[in-house]
Symmetry: C3
Subunit: 141 residues, 3 copies
Amino acid sequence: MSLRQARTTLSVRTHGQGLTDITREVADFVRRSGIADGLLTAFIQHTSASLTVQENADPDVLADLNDFFRRIVREDPTLYRHTMEGPDDMPAHIRAALTSVQVSIPVLTGVMALGTWQGLYVFEHRARPHDRRVVLHLLGS
Amino acid sequence: MSLRQARTTLSVRTHGQGLTDITREVADFVRRSGIADGLLTAFIQHTSASLTVQENADPDVLADLNDFFRRIVREDPTLYRHTMEGPDDMPAHIRAALTSVQVSIPVLTGVMALGTWQGLYVFEHRARPHDRRVVLHLLGS
Amino acid sequence: MSLRQARTTLSVRTHGQGLTDITREVADFVRRSGIADGLLTAFIQHTSASLTVQENADPDVLADLNDFFRRIVREDPTLYRHTMEGPDDMPAHIRAALTSVQVSIPVLTGVMALGTWQGLYVFEHRARPHDRRVVLHLLGS
């Protein structure tokens, strides 16, 4: 068995706070790589947006998830020193720390081993839309 | 050095909210693979249960950890849109997002590089027992 | 392409609750390994300290992040069973579970694919300074 690597960077346009599904783009990268079995790693190059694997069936789950993070990490400037970049910036850093900067998913016969109800999402924590970069890396055979 | 891969899926029966130790099952997989040095990845195929590495010495730590997540993510249906699957379902998704869907652990001379007091756990966030699938992937030599 | 592995363990002295930047030490390990393209994994062998990728520009971000975790996980012994190791111990375990025990970062042409504003930190959750071990593993070519 000869192991090799593939790599790309996704550019993901977000729509302000909330989740953007990137499962299809990542699956396309895996398929095009020609690597059937291995480990896919997604890494987001930001500290005010993050990655999460969540339910892909009911959009209400994504809305409730976003609401929770807004409740638990409040946009109250009196709570923070770092306020220069706006009231949503420091809360965004905290929400990113509470979720994930990176997710690795095993790949088998060309398909990510996601559960039936799992999707991979960019979780935007800033109020305004942003262009986010997600580095994809696949190692396998 | 010739690198290769091994893979399996664990089926883990949980007992309702709380942590189930899977360290031994994962260590058995690593040993049986014959791969001495590499990277072990565990990925759970669910969005209402998760993975965590926690203390393996005092069971009170696991109980306190579970209590914290019950306090911080309340089972109050007025907080959520997604309530059809029961009052514990949306809180379970949030608790999963706050912990990890995946953990990767370096392997050396056939043993995972866990610290002395670390164990690997499935963290069940639903009230009732469930059968949870954890995909294990090992890449190394 | 011939894939290979490199590995080391960093010893990191922390200064009580807060973040310690280890980006430079990890970058040095990557450079010395001679592996240009691959996947770097950092794994901390403790359950009362963790890893996080956060902003490396404004130190206020790190102070606000630490404050948030102190607010959200209170050092109130009446909340916990596990109190023998001091009032800061159980909160430290919870804060560790809310962040990450492990982070994997793709490496390209000898450099980790961190974003411009990203640094890799050990997040100490205990009150006193500790010596923390971080296992580094690099797989690539």
